[in-house]
């Protein structure tokens, strides 16, 4: 299990394929970070909206 790279800059260069390799991994990472954030945001706004609606129906019942 030895480390394959001699230096960090060599790791970044990816033997000349850096743009392609990091372009792939970068977009992948972006998607896997943004997708959960969007899902969490949507859930938060959904819960807030459902609470408002249920409060409104409760008020209507009381009147």
């Amino acid at each position: 299990m030895t480390i394959h790279w001699n230096s960090f800059s060599e790791f970044l260069a990816m033997g000349g394929y850096g743009v392609y390799v990091w372009g792939s991994f970068g977009v992948n990472a972006l998607i896997m970070i943004v997708e959960p954030i969007v899902a969490i945001q949507r859930r938060k706004s959904l819960v807030a909206r459902l609470k408002r609606q249920s409060r409104a129906t409760d008020r209507n019942k009381e009147q």
Binding site: M1, T2, I3, H4, W5, F11, M14, G15, G16, Y17, Y20, V21, G23, S24, F25, V27, N28, I31, M32, E35, P36, A39, I40, R42, R43, L46, V47, L50, K51, Q53, S54, T57
Partner: protein, 254 residues
């Protein structure tokens, strides 16, 4: 009805599936991170250079898992769709709807990483070859499913329409999978097959399998999370959703 049947149907109701999914999500998310770190370590740090493709081959560690997931998620989606059409269960449509966006993103990732791999290796970002074209059609099927469901207001009718589209589109999955065998394509054959031993070095293979497990766990976690939101939205006004909402305000997740 025997007991087993009753238990099975118990979890098919959103009311009992909701808390179960809530308990499972952190585990799947944690496993995704563990498998991801291990896979990236093996694939990006330890694995040796490929004798043909140099370091450029390392795109395989996300390209293959994303492609597998894009096909597998579609099959699961179609399975739920068929179940929904046959038994009219509430959960089925919610699961299919929850899976579609992640499937679409996986199909996009497969095409994106494929283009970035194709450019240095084949000299082109894109060719209209069987494997690439059928994967593009898969992306369009996902987008079509999402758009169709979004365009119909009544959720039960949206589920039915989406289910029919999902089932018709299943024909595309074997076409993608076998395209490299059936037609002469630029795309290389499968690196891993069930019938013969893999044509990859052991370290590379393990890196790829760990990344595939990471993508699995990620997909399950995010789909369950989305399914929970869909359940709340669709079942709003019921007692159990009111209880969930009440608990949510006190910082207690249920």
């Amino acid at each position: 009805m025997n007991n087993r049947l009753i238990n099975w149907f118990k979890f098919a109701s959103p009311q009992s599936f909701y808390p179960l999914a809530g308990k499972m999500i952190p585990w799947f998310a944690a496993l995704a991170v563990v498998f991801g770190v291990a896979g990236l370590w093996l694939g990006m740090v330890v694995a040796p250079t490929d004798f043909q493709q140099g370091e450029g081959y390392r795109i395989i560690f996300i390209h293959v898992p994303a492609s597998w997931m894009s096909m597998f998620i579609y099959l699961v989606m179609a399975f739920w769709a068929a179940l929904g059409l046959a038994y009219n269960t509430r959960l089925s449509g919610m699961m299919a709807q929850a899976l579609a966006p992640t499937g679409a993103l996986m199909a996009f990732l497969s095409l994106w990483t494929g283009a970035l791999w194709g450019k240095p290796m084949w000299g082109t970002w894109w060719v209209w070859d069987a494997r690439l074209t059928s994967e593009l059609i898969l992306l369009f099927l996902y987008i079509g499913f999402i758009a169709l469901q979004a365009s119909i207001d009544d959720p039960r009718r949206a589920d039915k329409a989406g289910a029919v589209l999902a089932l018709v589109g299943v024909v595309n999955i074997p076409i993608i999978y076998f395209s490299v065998k059936w037609w002469n394509t630029l795309h290389q054959g499968s690196s891993v097959s069930l019938t013969k031993s893999p044509s990859m070095a052991a370290l590379m293979l393990w890196g790829m399998l760990l990344m595939a497990l990471c993508f699995w766990m990620y997909s399950i976690a995010i789909a369950l999370y989305r399914a929970r939101s869909i359940m709340l939205e669709r079942e709003r006004g019921t007692e159990w959703v009111k209880e969930v909402l009440a608990a949510e305000g006190q910082g207690v997740s249920k």
